[in-house]
């Protein structure tokens, strides 16, 4: 039974890269294109880990994380923030919103999978 990872990113390139890296690592991957779509996809699915971008149209990563944490069903799901922003301010905002950890783009596959493994039971 493989674990499911939900990735939320507005870039098709990034979605494809995540999908490739994660499915090759044996994860079941579901994807969304922005925060609002992410919350929609979340309903009716039960990802073991969520990976989200920050800069997205309609609803950014901060809003998405807050939305997930507000939902009792999903508040214990680990959320990793995937972003090119390496500055402390973005990280602390993401943390304040409820993020579990972060991965800095560009990522390599081993590190990505390792990050998931660290937070996934």
């Amino acid at each position: 039974m493989s674990m499911t990872v939900l990735t939320v990113d507005d870039s098709r390139t990034m979605r494809d890269m995540l999908k490739l890296a994660l499915s090759e690592a044996g994860y079941n991957v579901i994807q969304a294109e922005d925060g609002i779509h992410g919350l929609e996809v979340l309903q009716g699915s039960s990802p073991d880990v969520i990976i989200t971008d920050i800069n997205m149209p309609r609803m950014d990563g901060f809003g998405f994380i807050e939305g997930v944490r507000r939902d009792d069903t999903y508040r214990a799901v680990p959320i990793l923030v995937l972003t090119t922003e390496s500055d402390a301010e973005k990280k602390s905002r993401a943390r304040a919103a409820g993020a579990t950890g972060w991965i800095v783009k560009p990522f390599d596959r081993a590190k990505l999978v390792d990050a998931i493994r660290r937070v996934a039971a």
């Binding site: 507005d10 390139t13 494809d16 390496s86 579990t100 493994r117 937070v119």
Partner: protein, 765 residues
């Protein structure tokens, strides 16, 4: 294809979209839409290009995008006003970014000096020196496509409290310089004190998993401290009352150990010390007051592990060794495949539902499908349409009454079939936006080269048309826009002298009109210079010097092959392409082009194109024993010729006189070998058609059976290429009908055609 290579292609496609968005956004901002939505979209476009470029190690692109992004970030944050000067620079920067993307995609280089200049200009706006190599840390980071950011200390995050609360030397990066007191086997034993706060759990981190990470690094002995555990009834269920001390023997260094706690630094008390040496301590303290108590306790007891007995004495043998063994086992099982399947499985019941529900939701927005599959579907629907038509014909033949249930049912089926066909065609349809959005840049460049001032206005970008039509529309449109600016618009001084605004307007619009798409390119320039056009045509021998032509006829001269002249060719419009080529490519798409011009007011070129290349409006005719389809777009008019109008000109060839002009008369049955005898003019029908380059001819056929929409089936794909035949279709009665290749037919007779008569007949059209 290598999956990464495929993703790279996706990246470049996405770049194109983002570049378009960037340009549109910048133009919108220039037009006064400075709302945060627009600004953010522009920022995101550049940000996204940079992100992907970083992943593929495209350094030039990253470097330029980074500078651009920095400037945009200032605009986004309101530190820079999006004024005209800045927007001009950013629009040019967008062009450079586009060139960099294409250079990365297709190979080739972008003029480094040009990049440099724009980087400097952007940097000047954002107040940062971006020209040198002194890129900031973030830029550097992005240049590491395969490596990962080393887990770094962020001393800011914890040092202040550490200094205050901890009597030990606060440590930060300087710890790296401390000499390693490594054991003989290269392994060091560390003592890790870890007390999670409630916030650690609230962020969905988990002590058990953090401890598991330590276990992966080496041998661990884990001691649980539950001394602050409250009675069950007083317990805050989501509080945090436990602490752990882990004795870890590992070859990994302090950074690696800290790395395991990277995400929880603010959510726990953490102290890492080398066993036996209290001086080297890494400590992280969150804001929790308990941390202070702990720190003090640790200060008075420098080696707590030695003093701290297991809190509950009945532990005969400590669990630690088991843990280490267990973890090794887990690692062994897990690492080869990197498969999370071996980790603690998630609730079994949740999963099947997960997959299905997720698939269902994830696909709501858009899906990407192989074009082959869509084309296969279109093919099948084509078959369905044909099949339905055949069925209808059989039913009619069987003599069932019009009001019978079968016939009514068939009518409904036909309706449904058409609807399916339209829907399937719509899958291939795309908005013309993808072509239109390349034009603003072109307009800017042509304007810059010609010294003219242009405003390009686009309308109807949402109009959809078949993907292939869109792809083949780009070149003709490019040429037409160039032409409009280069030849259509006057220089600013002339415009002003003529009482117009110095800035010329070129309008590009698309609209759906009766099942076709109509695209117009118009300018508010001087209009076609008719005396000049006529002179050129005479000079080129395209018309007789004494030809009397209407204004419309003169305007249409520009579409003649050979009209485009050296004296008329400038740097921009030249390139050996004349309007005849434009016309030909439009006709190849089953389209038509026309021009209307008013002196002093400008010209309008109008393209009318079919929405799809999969169906065709045709006239069904018979020639000899064959049923043929003539594309309706090629037919100018149908004629009932009189014997007297047909004149033999030797070699079995004929011309027909039409209102004073002569055009070649082609007997289709003879030309294609379907009959041995020519149709008697009075008994047949002539179709006046226009082929490539405006060449006209009359096609002699036996009879006209009617007009209908037919589904095009490739003859080459199913049989082989046949002279004079473009494709085939299947009619309602099940017969295969061939679709005529007008251009080939006309070309086969070309020697007979002379320019002047052709022009005369133009008056008829």
């Amino acid at each position: 294809m290598d999956p990464m290579e495929a993703i790279k292609q996706t990246f470049f496609q996405e770049c194109e979209e983002q570049l378009a968005e960037l340009e549109q956004g910048l133009l919108a901002i220039e037009g006064g839409e400075t709302d945060s939505e627009t600004v953010n979209a522009v920022f995101r476009a550049v940000h996204s290009i940079k992100g992907g470029a970083g992943a593929f190690g495209l350094e030039d692109l990253v470097r330029f995008a980074h500078v651009f992004e920095t400037t945009l970030d200032h605009v986004r944050a309101g530190r820079l006003a999006p004024e005209a000067d800045l927007l001009k620079v950013m629009l040019r920067a967008a062009d450079v970014l586009a060139d960099l993307v294409r250079a990365a995609r297709d190979g080739g280089v972008v003029d480094e000096a040009r990049c440099e200049v724009l980087r400097a200009e952007l940097g000047a706006f954002s107040g940062e020196d971006e020209t040198g190599d002194g890129d900031d840390g973030m830029g550097e980071l992005d240049f590491q496509p395969l490596s990962f950011e080393p887990i770094s200390f962020e001393p800011m995050a914890f040092e202040p409290t550490a200094i205050e609360a901890d009597p030990f030397e606060p440590i930060g990066s300087e710890l790296a310089f401390a000499p390693e007191l490594a054991a003989a086997d290269g392994r060091t034993t560390w003592i890790i004190h870890f007390r999670p706060h409630a916030s650690l759990y609230a962020h969905a981190n988990e002590s058990a998993l953090l401890l598991r990470e330590l276990g992966r690094m080496g041998e661990v002995e884990t001691t649980l401290d539950d001394s602050t555990l409250p009675p069950l009834a007083d317990m805050e269920p989501e509080g945090a009352y436990l602490a752990w001390t882990v004795r870890l023997t590992t070859e990994r260094d302090l950074d690696a150990i800290r790395g395991a706690f990277e995400w929880v630094e603010d959510d726990c008390d953490l102290k890492i010390e080398r066993e036996g040496g209290a001086a080297e301590v890494a400590s992280v303290q969150g804001p929790d007051p308990i941390e202070l108590i702990l720190a003090k306790a640790l200060a008075s007891a420098p080696a707590p592990t030695m003093e701290a007995p297991p809190p509950i004495p009945q532990i005969a043998e400590p669990a630690p060794l088991d843990v280490a063994a267990l973890i090794r086992k887990a690692q062994a099982a897990e690492e080869p495949v990197l498969a999370p399947a071996n980790a603690v499985p998630a609730p079994a019941a949740a999963h099947p539902a997960t997959a299905n529900a997720a698939n269902a939701t994830a696909t709501t927005a858009t899906i990407r499908v192989d074009l082959d599959r869509v084309d296969r579907l279109i093919d099948l629907v084509g078959e369905l349409v044909i099949n339905q038509a055949m069925l209808a014909q059989r039913v009619t033949e069987s003599g069932l009454g019009r009001s019978s249930g079968v016939v009514t049912g068939l009518d409904e089926l036909e309706h449904l079939t058409r609807e399916i066909q339209d829907s399937v065609m719509a899958i291939r349809a795309q908005p013309v936006k993808s072509v239109f959005q390349r034009m603003p840049r072109l307009a800017r460049e042509v304007a810059a080269m010609t010294g003219k001032s242009v405003r390009l206005v686009t309308e109807g970008e949402g109009c959809e048309v078949d993907k292939t039509v869109i792809e083949r529309l780009s070149d003709p449109l490019t040429h037409m826009i160039r032409n409009a600016i280069d030849h259509g618009l006057e220089r600013p001084d002339k415009r002003i002298a003529a009482g117009k605004s110095g800035e010329g307007v070129v309008r590009l619009s698309a609209a759906h009109r009766s099942g076709r798409i109509v695209i117009e390119v118009s300018d508010d320039g001087a209009g076609i210079n008719r005396p000049r056009v006529k002179d050129i045509a005479i000079e080129k021998g395209l018309i007789a010097p004494d030809a009397v032509l209407s204004d419309e006829e003169i305007d249409n001269l520009i579409f003649l092959p050979g009209f485009s002249t050296a004296s008329e060719v400038s740097d921009i419009s030249g390139r050996g392409v004349g309007m005849d080529v434009v016309k030909r490519s439009i006709q190849a798409l089953g389209g038509r082009i026309s021009v209307a011009s008013r002196p002093g007011l400008g010209s309008t070129f109008t393209l009318s194109l079919p929405l799809t290349l999969a169906v065709l409006d045709g006239m069904v005719v018979s020639a000899g024993s064959q049923t043929l389809v003539v594309p309706l777009t090629a037919i100018i008019e149908t004629l009932q010729p009189k014997a007297a109008e047909v004149h033999p000109i030797g070699e079995g060839a004929h011309v027909i006189s039409i209102r004073g002009g002569y055009v070649p008369l082609i007997d289709v049955g003879l030309a294609l070998g379907y009959s041995d005898e020519a149709v008697e003019p009075a008994k047949g029908v002539a179709l006046l058609i226009e082929g490539e380059g405006g060449a006209r001819a009359a096609l002699m056929v036996g009879a006209i059976q009617g007009q209908r929409q037919v589904v095009i089936k490739s003859l080459e794909a199913n049989y082989r290429q046949v002279f004079g035949i473009a494709a085939a279709t299947i009619l309602g009665d099940g017969r295969v009908a061939l679709i005529l290749d007008i251009d080939a037919l006309v070309a086969g007779q070309k020697g007979l055609e002379s320019p002047a008569p052709v022009l005369r007949t133009a008056a008829i059209g």
